[in-house]
């Protein structure tokens, strides 16, 4: 029993997209622009040469926010979306009826239709791959060359994640919606 979360030291991201590749490889995500569990958002440089705003050019890795109060779970008519024992928001493909309500309800665009199972899929912190094998890291975290991602147990005060959240300022996305995300962006 844990409560998994992730911190993203997003300013370290170099947009190499190794995390996206690792996620696809580890979890067997199909190819295609719409088929992704995680992504790196690119904000282009603003302004015109020579007055370019270097500060505006950021890379923002993102994915399912693993909300503690997930709108996608709340709207699911068949409990196909559920919280597992580690607080990870997951989809049971046997119960998913593909009504797509969760895709509409998710404020983060974190869900897509997986053509392998013809059900809705999303990031589950590698719960049915790496964590199921007893590993303690996610694929995106393990592969990141600049150590953007810190995955761990929020309930364990000694975890690296808990420590970094105690020491560094951070924010969550669309906090005002009350979704209580478990992805923290380090400032």
């Amino acid at each position: 029993m844990a409560r998994y979360g992730m911190a993203l030291d997003y300013k370290n991201c170099i947009n190499c997209k190794a995390c996206e590749v690792a996620c696809k490889e580890e979890n067997g995500i199909l190819l295609g622009a719409d088929k992704h569990r995680i992504w790196v958002g690119v904000k282009e440089i603003e302004g015109e040469f020579p007055l370019l705003s270097i500060a505006s050019n950021t890379f923002m890795p993102s994915q399912c926010q693993q909300c503690d109060n997930a709108p996608c779970q709340e709207v699911c008519p068949t409990h196909a979306t559920y919280y597992d024992e580690n607080g990870v928001v997951r989809v049971d493909p046997d119960k998913c009826i593909l009504c797509s309500y969760c895709m509409n309800a998710c404020p983060y665009d974190a869900r897509y239709v997986d053509d392998r199972t013809v059900t809705v899929d999303k990031c589950n912190f590698c719960s049915d791959t790496r964590l199921a094998r007893g590993e303690t890291t996610t694929a995106c975290q393990a592969t990141c060359p600049t150590k953007v991602r810190i995955f761990g147990d929020l309930d364990d005060p000694e975890s690296e994640l808990s420590q970094v959240l105690r020491e560094r300022e951070h924010f969550t996305l669309k906090t005002h919606l009350g979704t209580e995300p478990k992805l923290f962006y380090l400032i």
């Binding site: 958002g41 709207v75 699911c76 068949t78 009826i97 509409n104 869900r111 013809v118």
Partner: protein, 393 residues
């Protein structure tokens, strides 16, 4: 078991049943149903890839058509209930036909949604085995299932002229139908992330527009039945009353819409004001929703003081086109604003409104639903006496 004892129907040969008096309508109904079947065939081969829906716009035309049909059903249920549930004598003559209409429209809606939901059989199983009670879709679907059951029971009692039992079944069906329909509004109203849809508007708006749709449809049904001839006096009386009620309802709808748009734009709030401004720049809103759905019928009602019931049949046809646009737009508008989280450029263009246009398969299944509705309605008019009502009850 003798079916005739359960629900009295006209006995006729298959040939008699299948030879329609109006060849043109028969052709339209069969052609549309054929389109439906072709669309379903393509869907069964290609799945959702045959549709224009995307990750960012997962709900498309078929959701809109489903809503169109269930709004029609709820509306006809309300219209039919005036007579047999509430006992207003002036409306008694249209009850049976309206209740039958509510059954065929919801069946057409179910036929369409069955090919939008990815796993309809699984839905029936897990709706029962692991109900998601916080889901508006669960409540909407379940309540509509119960609603359909009571509508059928009510209709059976109506055909048997058992007005007492029809009244009880009708009241339950009406209440469950209103609950189901407002839950359908809640499906959109509960979307906290979609500012333009979130809130109390849709659950109430759905009931209001259902009533309006029901009146348009009752005009269409009787306009078709008495085409080229005068309405009988009892029908004319009911329709005249409904036309006046429609004037009031359309006025309320225009008032609602005006304030929805004003509050949406006011203050320039991101995600709300820009979406509303976008809607206000679309032809489908002004020509479809406003002109066809509200203004043309409303002007006719005002200009004739609610007496031109023959002209209202045509205005109702135009009104139904407007109602379709209302359904289509509400589904599309709710998804207009991209939910991108910092995906500024990678997988899509910089922030702009999400685009969607239905695929040919979606269009075939969507308008094909009308064909199913017409065929079921035709069979009903042949098999059942939809007009004779007992004098007193």
């Amino acid at each position: 078991m003798d079916l005739q004892k359960i629900i009295p129907y006209r006995k006729m040969s298959l040939k008699e049943l299948l030879i329609p008096e109006n060849k043109f309508m028969a052709f339209v109904a069969v052609a549309l149903t054929a389109l439906f079947l072709i669309g379903v065939g393509i869907y069964l081969v290609h799945g959702h890839h045959a549709y224009g829906v995307t990750r960012q716009h997962p709900w498309g035309l078929l959701i809109a058509v489903y809503i169109f049909f269930v709004v029609s059903s709820t509306g006809l249920c309300i219209v039919g209930s005036f007579g047999d549930v509430f006992g207003f004598k002036d409306y008694m003559s249209v009850s049976k036909r309206a209740i039958f209409g509510s059954i065929v429209t919801i069946l057409a809606g179910f036929a369409v949604i069955a090919f939008e939901i990815g796993h309809p059989v699984r839905m029936m199983i897990y709706n029962v085995l692991s109900p998601g009670l916080t889901s508006a879709i669960w409540w909407m679907g379940t309540l509509y299932g119960i609603y359909l059951t009571f509508m059928i029971i009510e209709f059976i009692f109506l055909v048997r002229n058992d007005m007492k039992r029809a009244k009880v079944a009708g009241l339950i069906g009406l209440l469950v139908g209103l609950a189901a329909h407002s839950n359908l509004g809640g499906v959109f109203g509960f979307l906290n992330a979609r500012v333009v849809a979130n809130g109390v508007f849709y659950p109430t708006y759905f009931i209001l527009t259902a009533f309006i749709t029901g009146i348009y449809l009752i005009f269409l049904m009787y306009g078709y039945k008495y085409r080229g001839q005068d309405f009988p006096s009892d029908i004319a009386k009911a329709l005249t009353n409904f036309m006046k009620i429609q004037g009031l309802l359309l006025a309320i709808l225009m008032f609602f819409e005006t304030w929805k748009m004003l509050t949406g734009v006011y203050g320039g709030m991101p995600e709300r004001a820009d979406v509303i401004m976008h809607i206000l720049h679309t032809k489908s809103f002004w020509l479809g929703e406003v002109l066809c759905g509200m203004v043309i019928p409303f002007v006719l009602i005002l200009a004739t003081k609610g007496s031109a019931i023959k002209k209202m049949v045509w205005a109702s046809f135009i009104g139904m086109i407007g109602i379709f646009y209302m359904r289509y737009d509400l589904v599309h508008d709710a998804q207009l604003f991209p939910m991108q989280t910092l995906k500024i450029r990678e997988y899509q263009l910089p922030p702009s409104f999400v685009e969607y246009f239905p695929s040919s398969t979606e269009i075939m299944i969507g308008i094909g639903g009308v064909g199913i509705c017409l065929i079921l309605y035709y069979l009903g008019t042949k098999l059942f006496d939809l007009d004779t009502m007992p004098e007193h009850h």
